[in-house]
Symmetry: C2
């Protein structure tokens, strides 16, 4: 039997739906990106429809949240509640008569980096997705661990702020994009001097992490401190992951790695103060190679791996 040449990968994150046609080398042949906020199931169907052919081996879907793999549904998604309960795999399988697999989006991204990205050279690594929220995925002995890996939802401040997940003091509430913009706005509103007051035509609620980063590069103290504070917390999270998984590498992906030289460099310093040096000394902390594509490529990888045709 001839190997089918492609798999379709989908990545449903906090704000975007990405769907791509991926070949057996882990390369994206064609892609589409749209919003995940409205009718995500219908958008997914029409995107898959675009790439569907008899040369497609299967479909993999990565979704933010806690996945019930057997039932093919999202049990819980604090950052994307609209997907909770949707029967993704059954629904898609019925329409396209192809094998369909579902995985947590950060787990899919870890699989993508392992297959075709920064994780190729490692047998074990922990991946953090750093965006609106924070997710995690763990590769062990060359394979994805089938665990929740909700690394953003670990308390790093026992009595810290309430997280949409119900916990208090989650890493995500201190080191994510949402945490950064929230902190910047809070500081500006409390009267701290900053060039960012003029940002977004004075509507500080529209400040993005990209804005914070560009003001930081211009030397704005509030912007720098916001990035560094989030970076220190990220370092606490990475140190914890190293003390638990003792991985060969930690791979960072998501929009926030654009601020690497301030945010991530601060995190790396914090890791060196906190993790067991016998472990962190041999752990490389690296940026993703696939960046925003890690999730769709990993989801496609899942379809290739599992279908074997």
């Amino acid at each position: 039997m001839r190997h089918k040449r492609y798999a379709i990968g989908a990545d449903i994150g906090g704000t975007n739906l990405r769907v791509a046609l991926v070949n057996r080398e882990g390369e994206i042949v064609e892609r589409v990106k749209t919003s995940s906020t409205n009718n995500v199931f219908d958008s997914l169907v029409s995107a898959i429809d675009r790439f569907y052919s008899d040369d497609v081996a299967g479909i993999g879907i990565g979704v933010a949240g806690v996945i019930e793999r057997k039932k093919g549904i999202v049990k819980r998604s604090p950052n994307l509640p609209s997907v909770e309960g949707i029967g993704f795999t059954d629904g898609i399988r019925q329409r396209f008569s192809l094998p369909v697999y579902i995985e947590n989006d950060a787990n899919a991204a870890a699989l993508g980096e392992r297959w075709a990205g920064a994780g190729r050279e490692f047998k074990s690594f922990v991946l953090f997705t750093l965006g609106t929220g924070i997710g995690g995925g763990v590769i062990y002995d060359g394979h994805l661990l089938d665990i929740a890996a909700e690394l953003g939802h670990i308390s790093i401040e026992a009595a810290g702020v309430r997280c949409p997940c119900g916990n208090n003091g989650c890493l995500e509430s201190y080191a994510s994009a949402r945490a950064m913009t929230g902190r910047a706005v809070e500081l500006i509103e409390s009267g701290t001097e900053s060039l960012m007051k003029a940002c977004c035509e004075g509507n500080v609620y529209k400040i993005s992490p990209e804005d914070i980063y560009s003001y930081a590069l211009e030397g704005d103290n509030l912007a720098r401190e916001t990035l560094k504070t989030a970076g220190r917390y990220l370092g606490i999270g990475i140190a914890g992951a190293i003390n638990i998984f003792s991985p060969e590498a930690v791979i960072l992906t998501g929009g926030l790695i654009g601020a690497w030289n301030i945010y991530v460099e601060t995190a790396i310093k914090e890791v060196s103060k906190r993790a067991f040096p016998e472990l962190s000394g041999s752990t490389k902390i690296l940026p993703s190679i696939l960046k925003g594509d890690a999730g769709v490529i990993g989801a496609a990888c899942l379809a290739f791996d599992k279908t074997r045709n």
Copy 2:
């Protein structure tokens, strides 16, 4: 070739050295327990010597700390610095001409519970050792994950107290036996009323977790609050482990589980507030069956598994 009937397991923890002769059913046939604080290598040799015969397949050693398995040494042991750098496997192998394996003590305990204890019925569980320090071990898909699993050395208070490991705010500093006695003494010294003032003939520095537990049962508020505070922190640690590993069970071992109805029950309540309910709802939290023997039995299991003779 006839299967050799026994393996020798050793468990070198914070204060005790336990060595046992274990059969292929995971039962202890003979045992010795001594202190781990003086000349631990020599004590280990003389204990093994007692059980050594040509019916022994191999020797497994569990030691508190970060293990370098290939070299057979303990790279780091914050609670037992005297073992750092000792070439356990080479040294023991030379003397007894048997295969020798080394593992972190909590990892060994997880293996023991999986083989012959509370973990028999689970394909995946996280084990916490709750004693002077706090350790962890993770069973995944029926097998021990070869990771550091230093679950006691994860920051749960970002700017918390300094831990001997170098980190700040480690779970171990808030939920271990050492944390409990430290907190009780601190409260007594600050003038808080308590029956425990009379404990240990007034020498409060000698208060043990067992003392705290018996005073708590007598209704002493300070003793109860000390156990509950430690329990709440333990709950934060367990919730984190559930959000990361989504295990079928969490198994608790070590001296502190004697205070189950206050310390662990408080932890379980905290878990229900903090972990993703979709995960914690299906996670059982159970006491160890092998108790203090989990480590030696797991270490012996390692020797049976790896030698295959």
